[in-house]
């Protein structure tokens, strides 16, 4: 909403001490958490991160991820991998049942794998389609997963909410029922979903399968969660201030400073690929590496991001992997500082040495024109759009003519501007717990095996070798080295340069304790949360 | 008249009711330097009727409204004395005025169709007067409303009380309006043009009602421009002009021996049997033009317009149909005026429309100069349209308000463009308008001037017949007189025939050679004007003539009173 209105809001709120009474430390049994979330997805389970937030409350995954990247047991207590890296054997707990009574066993998990890769979850397919071959239940508690090629990030990948295990009985109900009320083994069940308003979760009193990094075992302390959808940031933040919600998602940057003083603010930097500029390497002016590098030098991306986000969101210079992801290469982040002179030199060297009347570079009569379509309001927030506009202004001084095209959600998701002749830079992010994201984004895009996620259309064998090597090795230091080299290569050749990390933030009111964000995707976990007074 | 007011609904006012006493009243409106009313003094006594006579702009309505404190926003009212029943009215607050209005003074406006709330049943309007002054409870008020309606002579009062003004006839409406004014038996009744736009018979009944109220002891202030109406009812008359009273006295004095020339002119201007053949406004000069070649109509020859057995039916609600015109025939000789007189709903306007071939008759036909007129096709009629033109009651609605006078008149002139301007000038001369009027818009002209423009437009194509449908009904008496004189002069000079339609018998008697009396679509009586009006054969015509209020003249030798 308009910044002016929100500033007015701050001014008024500053004058009020807030309607919340002073809170002590005495623990209270039960209660219902009222949580204000931003976006409402069409279904609770699915391949979109918004769906993972919801499904995390009702589904357990096989493993969980610690903040430092270590994988810890969850539904799977133990695992081994074969010599050739292609067969993984998981040992499952034997005392867990789905909330509809179906027992959790290896066959159920195998059914889930088949379901996902059969179209049930497009993101799972993006990760595993190239690697998964089959799975089978050896016995009730032993599951064998066979891959077509070694894939060492498998465990980290399995910790995400997309890989939550659903009851096979429930899956048989069909899409409509599973969309609304997926059934799992998790700490809560979906009691009701009033679309446009809220999802009501009820405690699963028989819960006994908390992950190893949970704060306690057994059922949740609170009786339920009322997961409200409050898309307007003023309303959402205001509801926390007025005490109508206990915890909210996505603190508006403008409130960041105040919120940090009044509430418990947790910030989670989403691992994976940051919001970055991915250059089109097969068509247009960015085919020439020098032009790409010139663009990277031509704007002070760090200063712009820090100004626009007022410290709420950190700058990320690495264009392929974000800070907070395991195997992140931090050196790469400093690769392209603001240096307009260097940019100018590079452009001259690349042949764009003449300037037209408006100050744009030209070469053989053609203007140096860059087209950047972006998902206004969908992929990028308002602040993100502001960052792009600031970049557009700055690079103009060096001679780049940038055309920004805000694209509507339906057009963008309908595949507009997805072809190489339609855009020069792709702006987007991808969440992933490990640097395995590199494989998704840089696997070759070929006519016989297209890779729509390769937004730079960069088919480089050297890069692919590095990535596949890293994916295939189990030796952590080797993996780290290879991933680091891959990121370095991407940076040296300026295939992509970073802007800022995709960040989620949570603000918790003083009456609620022990809400934490899980490490793989930043979903809020309420299983350990309790009220105090 | 058998109508009397039920004694139960009126009472003889008590002795303290002395009526109004006004001395040297003057009213000035904001934005004008000159006072609208100046130096007016009058006295309204119980049981007597004072008539305030004047034309539009004379200040009579303003005076009447000032008597009830409704002069208008921001007006400044000053008087040496302004008393009602001995109570000083100057400086009264609105609350106190409200106690007076409706209770001590009853006000009757003209045209009940707009003076009663069109969306409410008339019973509610009458009841409102009772309710506002806290009279009885709801049931008692309902009964009182029925009583009042029957007292003013409304048949089936229970049914009528639930009907809206547009569902009642003109006469019933006006009676309901009077009932609402008389509801609390006020000591003073002020009636502002109570009979305008009413049929003659109905007018007579309304005047009877007012007279009965007066006889019961109310003081009656009657405001009217119609001297005949005034003469019937008034005991005293005050003549107003430009905000001042120019003459005042008993009715007999003022009407039979007026001292002021304005009064005299007003009296002379009333058309009737006595004024036939003479000018109504002899003091206003009419330029006599010599008709140009071809201007004059040929006085010989057969009838210019003839109607044979005209019938016209209109579909009514459901499957019924209403016969508006049922077998009407007439003929109009060159240079003659045929008057058609009747009350509302008699079908006279429909006859006019058929004469102009604007409406197809369901049976019968009209002949123009002996040739088929209504039976002819449109193509044949169009060039002949210049032979018969029309002038209506409200010229404003038949002019395009954005057009100048010049364009309005030139539109009817069938001549090449360069000659049109000259012809427009000529026509303006004919109707006695100064040439400077050409550039003006009709909205800026007075009623009389507009009507002259309408006549000029009708004359432009050199017609043989002019249909005048209530052409002077909306004009002030003196202006009406001038326009009638003009029409007479034009007929003399040009030999044009007139089909003159009006509900005003006096006017018709004044202008017509022959007369048609219509009722419910049929011709009830026809013949020579004098004969029909002075010795009517048919009972309806007799009734009409008897209802007409007569103005007593200063020359008693002419005609009967």
């Amino acid at each position: 909403m308009t910044a002016a209105a929100v500033s007015l809001g701050i001014a008024l709120l500053a004058g009020c001490s807030g309607p919340q009474a002073a809170v002590g430390d005495e623990r209270v049994e039960g209660g219902t958490i009222v949580y204000g979330h931003l976006q409402e997805p069409p279904c609770i389970f699915g391949g979109w991160v918004q769906q993972a937030y919801l499904s995390r409350q009702v589904l357990d995954s096989l493993v969980s991820l610690e903040d430092d990247g270590t994988v810890v047991p969850w539904l799977a207590t133990d695992w081994t991998v074969s010599e050739d890296q292609r067969t993984w054997t998981f040992t499952l707990r034997d005392d867990v049942s789905f909330t509809d009574g179906t027992p959790l066993d290896a066959q159920a998990v195998s059914d889930n794998f088949e379901y996902w890769l059969d179209g049930g979850n497009g993101t799972v397919q993006a990760y595993l389609a190239d690697y998964y071959e089959s799975s089978r239940a050896v016995d009730a508690t032993t599951l064998e997963v066979t891959l077509s090629a070694p894939y060492s990030p498998l465990l980290s990948v399995l910790s995400q909410g997309y890989f939550g295990i659903q009851s096979p009985t429930a899956l048989a109900r069909g899409n409509e029922a599973n969309c609304e009320q997926p059934v799992g083994t998790g700490p809560f069940t979906v009691a009701a979903w009033k679309r446009g308003e809220s999802v009501t979760f009820e405690r699963n009193d028989d819960y006994n399968s908390a992950p190893a990094n949970a704060r306690h075992d057994g059922p949740a302390y609170v009786e339920g969660i009322e997961w409200r959808f409050l898309p307007d940031s003023t309303t959402r933040y205001g509801s926390l201030v007025s005490g109508e919600t206990d915890v909210i998602y996505d603190v508006p940057s403008i409130e960041w400073a105040t919120a940090s003083e009044q509430f418990e603010v947790q910030r989670y930097i989403t691992p994976g690929r940051p919001v970055a500029l991915s250059f089109n390497t097969v068509e247009g002016p960015f085919v020439d590496e020098r032009v790409r590098q010139a663009f990277a030098f031509a704007s002070d991306r760090r200063a712009i991001v820090e100004t626009v986000f007022r410290g709420a969101v950190p700058f990320e210079g690495n264009g392929s992997v974000s800070q907070g992801t395991s195997n992140y290469n931090a050196e790469v982040a400093a690769a392209y500082p603001y240096d307009p002179n260097r940019a100018a030199e590079l452009l001259d060297a690349a042949g764009w040495s003449e300037t037209d009347a408006s100050g744009y570079r030209t070469k053989d009569g053609e203007t140096l024109e860059i087209v950047i379509p972006y998902g206004a309001g969908s992929i990028l927030t308002q602040e993100g759009s502001a960052v792009l506009q600031a970049i557009q202004q700055q690079v103009k001084d060096v001679g780049f003519k940038v055309t920004l095209i805000p694209v509507t959600q339906s057009e963008l998701f309908g595949g507009a501007y997805s072809q190489p002749d339609e855009r020069d830079i792709y702006v987007g992010y991808w969440t992933s717990p490990t640097a395995a994201i590199l494989h998704i984004n840089y696997r070759h895009h070929l006519p016989e095996s297209p890779n729509g996620a390769n937004s730079t259309f960069y088919n480089d064998d050297e890069l692919l070798a590095l990535i596949e090597g890293a994916n295939g090795t189990t030796e952590p230091s080797e993996q780290e080295r290879l991933y680091a080299e891959a990121q370095q290569l991407i940076s040296d050749r300026a295939v992509a340069v970073g802007l800022y990390t995709q960040t989620t933030s949570l603000a918790v009111g003083p009456q609620l304790r022990d809400v934490w964000l899980e490490a793989s995707q930043g979903e809020p976990v309420f299983h350990d949360a309790y009220f105090v007074q | 008249m058998s109508l009397t007011l039920d004694p139960a609904t009126t009472r003889i006012p008590d002795a303290s009711a002395t009526g109004y006493l006004v001395e040297d009243l003057s009213v000035t409106f904001p934005g004008s330097t000159a006072p609208t009313v100046q130096g007016v003094s009058l006295a309204l006594a119980p049981g007597r009727c004072l008539a305030l006579v004047g034309e539009s702009g004379s200040g009579k309505s303003v005076t009447a409204r000032t008597l009830v404190g409704l002069t208008g926003a921001g007006a400044s009212v000053r008087a040496r004395r302004l008393e009602l029943d001995g109570r000083d009215l100057s400086g009264l607050r609105d609350r106190q005025w409200r106690g007076i209005r409706g209770q001590r003074v009853g006000f009757v406006l003209q045209d009940a169709l707009v003076s009663l709330d069109p969306l409410r049943p008339v019973g509610r309007e009458i009841e409102e007067a009772l309710r506002l002054h806290g009279w009885g409870d709801r049931a008692a008020r309902r009964r009182k409303v029925i009583d009042l309606l029957s007292a003013v002579g409304v048949p089936e009062p229970e049914l009528r009380a639930k009907q809206r003004p547009d569902e009642l006839s003109g006469g019933l409406r006006q009676r309901a309006l009077i009932a609402s004014a008389l509801a609390l038996s006020p000591g003073v009744i002020i009636a502002d043009e109570p009979t305008t736009a009413l049929d003659v018979t109905v007018q007579a009944q309304v005047l009877d009602l007012l007279e009965a109220a007066k006889r019961r002891g109310a003081a009656l202030l009657l405001i009217s421009h119609d001297l005949a109406v005034v003469s019937r009812l008034a005991d005293d008359i005050a003549v107003m002009r430009d905000g001042r009273i120019v003459e005042q006295g008993t009715a007999r004095e003022v009407l039979s021996a007026p001292s002021h020339e304005y009064t005299r002119a007003l009296i002379d201007a009333v058309p009737s049997a006595h004024t036939r053949g003479s000018r109504l406004a002899p003091h206003v000069p009419i330029v006599v033009h010599e008709p140009g070649p071809g201007e004059r109509r040929d006085p010989r020859g057969g009838p210019v317009l003839a109607a044979e057995g005209l019938v016209k039916r209109f579909p009514g609600p459901g499957r019924t149909s209403r016969t508006a015109v049922d077998g009407v025939s007439f003929s109009l000789a060159p240079g003659e005026t045929l008057g058609i007189v009747g009350e509302s709903g008699s079908g006279k306007s429909t006859v006019a429309r058929m004469a102009l071939a604007l409406t197809e008759p369901d049976a019968g036909r009209v002949l123009l100069h002996g040739q088929p007129w209504t039976e002819a096709s449109r193509g044949i009629r169009r060039p002949l349209r210049r032979e018969i033109t029309a002038v209506y009651q409200d010229p404003l609605s038949s002019f395009d308000p954005r057009w100048t006078v010049e364009r309005i008149i030139a539109d009817s002139v069938a001549a090449p463009t360069r000659e049109r301007s000259a012809r427009v000038d000529e026509l303006l001369d004919w109707v006695g308008l100064p040439r400077g009027v050409r550039e003006r818009h009709p909205l800026t002209l007075s009623g009389g001037q507009r009507q002259r423009v309408a006549i000029a437009r009708a004359l432009a194509p050199r017609p043989s017949v002019m249909v005048l449908d209530e052409a002077v009904s909306a004009l002030d008496v003196s202006i009406q007189a001038q326009v009638l004189d003009l029409l007479g002069a034009l007929q003399q000079q040009l030999g044009v025939s007139y089909l003159f339609i009006s509900h005003d018998l006096g006017v018709v008697h004044h202008v017509s050679d022959r007369v048609l009396v219509m009722k419910d679509g049929r011709v009830v009586e026809h013949g020579d004007a004098d004969t029909v009006f002075t010795a009517p054969q048919q009972p309806y015509t007799q009734q009409l003539v008897a209802s007409l209020p007569r103005l007593e003249r200063s020359a008693p030798s002419k005609g009967t009173a």
Partner: protein
Amino acid sequence: MTGSAVDEQPLKRRVGNGVLPRVLGRLASAVLVLFAAASATFFAQALLPGDRATLLLNQRTGQTEARSDEELAPIRAEYGFDDPILVQYADYLGGLLSGRLGVSYQMHQPVEALIAEQIPATLLLTVTALAVAWVLTLVWTIATTRRSSRIDAIGSGVETVAAGLPPYWLGVILLVVFALGLGWFPVIGGSEAARLVLPALTLGIPLAGFMGQATRAAFERALEQPFVTSARMRGMSDLGVRVRHVLRHAALPGITLSGWALGSLISGAVIVETIFARPGIGRVLVSAVNSRDLPVVGGIVIVVALVYVVVNLLVDLAYSGVDPRLATE
């Protein structure tokens, strides 16, 4: 002279109740309207640029990639996107005629259930907003018409300003001042009535400004009519005249506008629903349009068109209620 019998023909007869044929006629044209709305929706959704199957798949994963034909084939088969456009249109119409609004592509729910769940909140908000607008208009018009020239000017000026207030701005201001600042109303949640106040005001105030301008003009005209003078001459106070007589005459333009307003309020409710976190079909419609979820969009458009038709019929009937003269034509 007998007096009574001569001229007592009423000028207009009371017509027998012509309501039923009018209603039936309206319903017949309503069917045509719905058909047109459904067809327009279908073609708009089907013919927009961009591939629908890609859109569906991308939305499910939150990605914006170009998709291969293999990936898209199952979706295309499931929803019939490969059929020629006229075949799809015929299928769609056939479904509508047999009473099926279809199943949402995204939410896998039958559209009827979705709409039935969401529409009561929107209708409640819309009707309340309209009622609020009426109250504001009437009070303001009665209070400020034809007083002093200064009051007239202020009254008219306020109406103009109110009419121009954008709902998203007004909503946030009301929220910040009255809910967050003063705490008079809940920001979210709370009892039903309290939750409605601010959203209804957000929609109602601009509408009141708009309706006020039309009502004011009619009010002024009616104040000049002779029947008002008659009422005053019976001793009625100024306020009484305004409320008891003039008000009814001035209501007609407002009633005309209400018919239009109700329909436009439904579609404008999406902004208010977003700010105040209310459920309703506005938001559902917007997200369905964004994801080109044709069954949902089509269903909502048809329902809204139906509401328009019903409301206009009610407005028509209201006319004759307010001004019975119109009934006798």
